[in-house]
């Protein structure tokens, strides 16, 4: 990696860290577009969806409470993990391609 690429990578990593750990706390808590659309046709009453809509069939995630959640630190750890996996995975693909 050249010095210029290294500087850029470092700057990008800092920006990503700030986004994941800090700024994400200020994100909108409103339902996202898909979740909102899947509730179309239902109304919510005391935590239950009444009417007919796709969201009524949503099941709890299999991981349940074991999921890492979405706190700032968990988000930072997730960002670091995907960085390593994508970087390593692509580097591995390149290495394998070079050998063939």
């Amino acid at each position: 990696m050249t010095a210029s690429t290294r500087r850029l990578a470092l700057l990008a990593a800092v920006v990503i860290g700030v986004l994941a750990v800090g700024v994400s706390a200020f994100a909108s808590a409103a339902p996202d577009g898909l979740e909102w659309a899947l509730r179309d046709g239902c109304s919510e009453s005391s935590g239950e969806l009444r009417g007919t809509c796709p969201a009524q069939h949503e099941r709890e995630h299999a991981l349940g409470d074991y999921a890492l959640g979405s706190t700032g630190l968990a988000a930072g750890a997730g960002a670091a993990l995907v960085l390593l996996l994508a970087w390593g995975g692509v580097a591995l693909l390149r290495g394998r391609g070079a050998r063939e």
């Binding site: 339902p31 390593g88 692509v90």
Partner: protein, 231 residues
């Protein structure tokens, strides 16, 4: 901060055969992307793929309001395709979606194939096709590059949401009007797509200013003169 993310489908919305079908489609696509993506990989690709995956993971947590009571966020299919090409871009986005599902309960495990198909396959491919069709415009000027990135971001979001509608038509669990569902899903994602397009254009514009050689779309094929888009 919300834990739910646009276009990340939960378990149970699609029936089991449909979930399996799209799991198989996603697996075939990722195998193809891994095989074809090798030719696009050079010294810069692996670090850029890692940083982009981390950036997309972080940005997918940043929901912005789009309508009263509705939010959206960058998902990054067009951005990944413009920076890394369709194959590596697709792999990069898949890493994000898989980690979200496996470790963050974000997107169902049985819906993983559908989520990868919508975002990593359809969205990335649609964004790249638009960007490729307008590559001449993107190379001509900075304004051209930003316009193409915006359009690719918008189209990729709509394409990914249309993918869900097709999946729901095949194996949706609720007895709802498909036309009505399509209108609501695609309509709201067209609005979210404007935000996707703006952020895609800003990100591509920022990279074009400092390292235009990192942008796959404008550096490949005959005209290897990316400096033109930096001015």
């Amino acid at each position: 901060m919300t834990a739910s993310v646009a276009m990340h489908l939960s378990d149970g919305v699609l029936d089991a055969p449909t979930s399996l079908l799209f799991g198989a489609i996603a697996a075939v696509w990722l195998t193809l992307a891994a095989a074809r993506g090798r030719i696009d990989i050079d010294d810069r690709t692996a670090p850029l793929a890692g940083l982009l995956a981390a950036f997309l993971f972080a940005m997918q947590l940043l929901n912005f309001p789009v309508l009263p009571g509705v939010s959206g966020h960058l998902y990054g299919g067009a951005l990944a395709a413009i920076l890394l090409g369709p194959w590596v871009g697709s792999l990069c986005l898949s890493v994000v979606v898989v980690i979200q599902a496996l470790l963050f309960a974000d997107g169902g495990l049985t819906a993983l194939g559908a989520n990868v198909t919508n975002m990593a396959l359809l969205g990335t491919a649609a964004g790249f096709v638009v960007a490729l069709a307008a590559r001449g415009v993107a190379r001509r000027s900075r304004a051209g590059l930003l316009s193409v990135a915006f359009l690719a971001g918008l189209v990729s979001t709509v394409a990914a949401s249309a993918g869900f509608v097709v999946e729901y038509a095949i194996g949706g669990q609720a007895d709802v009007s498909l036309g009505g569902l399509a209108g609501v899903v695609i309509g709201v994602h067209a609005v979210i797509g404007i935000g996707e397009g703006v952020i895609t254009a800003l990100a591509v514009g920022a990279i074009a200013r400092v390292r235009p050689d990192l942008i796959y779309l404008v550096r490949t094929s005959e005209a290897r003169q990316p400096a033109a888009v930096a001015s």
